[in-house]
Symmetry: C2
Subunit: 300 residues, 2 copies
């Protein structure tokens, strides 16, 4: 017996469960530009329903918040280390250390988070997936390079000042995040961009890739919070350097704490976008895999 | 036209997309014990398919890991503060502070995490939902009380020793996590346990409740990592107290860092269980809401 609410057998589960799914799934790679264009025209000519529109408006509000919070994080960390900590250099001095927080926050948090939610932008769904895959990989490469240079900055400064490396909780979590990120990038390129990678491997790899993506972000947020905490305790001691102690919450401490709050807020918005099934690119949803006949999956 | 793979219109999307969904959804509250028992017998008499079995086995492996990691976290934090930091007291001394990490890790991380994944246990799906709701609320109340007592311990110790409160990044994130948790518990009881709460409110509240649940866990993990980092820097200074400095990684530092790694691993397993749609209690899935006629939702 047909279940109430399922008006027609031809109406797939996905199109009813997820309000944005009417936009046809752009299959990766070998789809022609004409096919993608046709689908885009079809998608845009369909009058949007209120629930679909609401979902799109909420998505773009989250996405805009994500961009604004990311920009605020980068501005905050740059102002902190340029105005309060003397600026930047690459000479083994504490000024070289200053690149570490700036590059880690910019790379491992902000560029990483913006790269992670790229596929969720509904505007990209009616288009060929390959250029978006390349942009996703390129953004992640930028994030990875920034993170590695950020790590080099702190190792170089530590070695120059005879400070031991990799003993604190902050460093353990941070190095784990960067190592996982590098592994994730290599497996991502090998699994999703190399033409020789079989569809069965991609289907197996995708949920693992998505889950590790969230894990890396969680680790990088934990590393940032502990790093900010540690830096403020180290530098704001109220001693001969003339700084007020951290416990008195001088302006630098408020700025550092605010940076932490912004990073947490940014991470939560990114995780919110990643975890909402309505905002998954239609051809990335498990329902789509479950329904699509094998012949349609060639280009995934 | 019927889509390939959708063999019959009567077969709901959920039952094909999610291998565990054949277990009928136990509606909350007013379902009779006999009805629940019948469903359970039906569910257990259906021979399990390989994919369903695989999903169940993976779930229980994750759940067992979650329990073992939680136990390891509690053991680790208890050993650290009883063996290395002099044990416990409630007299305003540093021994009172020692209750803080023990109670926060036990309450805000371990009991909270175990309470959060309760509905995901497939064994509970064939049963009346109300007792599980009550157990979920009770576990969360235990977690909340432990967290509040843990906060009292540190405030009391700080006030006794004239140490300022709530200035560090660690304290900001930790207090935000506990405040959100208290709010979440009150709204959870009001929204999901009070009989007068309308079904429309429950449907509206559920995704918010689930999302804030993950957010609180993320905040508590970030607070724990920064707290462990801070504690180890404060206590392992290699000064007159005879301790080796943190940078030499003495046994206490390795134990503290390992506790941090265990907490992160526990959090990741809990978030993995929460985020997998296959492991959602069938009547909690959005697909179920989309399909279920209003008359069937009375008991949600």
């Amino acid at each position: 017996m047909q279940r109430p609410g399922s008006s027609s057998p031809s109406c797939s589960s996905t199109s009813r469960c997820f309000p944005l799914t009417h936009l046809a799934a752009a299959r990766c790679g070998s789809e022609t530009a004409a096919e993608a264009e046709k689908r885009e025209v079809r998608a845009h000519s369909t009058p949007p329903e209120p629930s679909r529109m609401r979902s799109i408006v909420i998505f773009y509000s989250c996405y805009l918040s994500c961009l604004c919070l990311g920009l605020a994080c980068v501005a905050c960390v740059c102002v902190w280390f340029s105005q309060w900590r003397g600026g930047f250099a690459w000479d083994g001095s504490p000024l070289q250390f200053n690149w570490h927080p700036v590059l880690m926050v910019t790379g491992l948090v902000v560029v990483y988070g913006i790269g992670a939610v790229l596929y969720r932008i509904p505007l990209t769904w009616g288009q060929n997936k390959l250029p978006w895959k390349l942009l996703h990989a390129a953004l992640m490469l930028v994030a990875l390079v920034l993170s590695i240079v950020g790590l080099c900055a702190v190792f170089d400064n530590h070695n120059h000042s005879n400070i031991p490396n990799l003993y604190s909780m902050h460093s353990w979590i941070g190095i784990a995040a960067t190592a996982l990120f590098a592994t994730q990038w290599v497996f991502g390129v090998a699994g999703f961009l190399l033409p020789c990678s079989p569809i069965s491997l991609r289907k197996l790899l995708k949920p693992v890739h998505v889950w590790f993506g969230g894990t890396i972000l969680l680790l990088s947020i934990a590393a940032c919070i502990s790093g900010i905490n540690e830096k403020l305790f180290f530098t704001l001691k109220g001693n001969a350097t003339g700084t007020q102690p951290y416990s008195k919450l001088p302006p630098e401490a408020v700025l550092g704490n605010s940076l932490g709050v912004l990073i947490v807020a940014f991470g939560l918005v990114v995780l919110k976008i990643l975890s909402n099934p309505e905002w998954q690119r239609p051809d990335s949803r498990p329902e789509d895999f479950a329904y699509a006949p094998l012949i349609h999956e060639d280009n995934e």
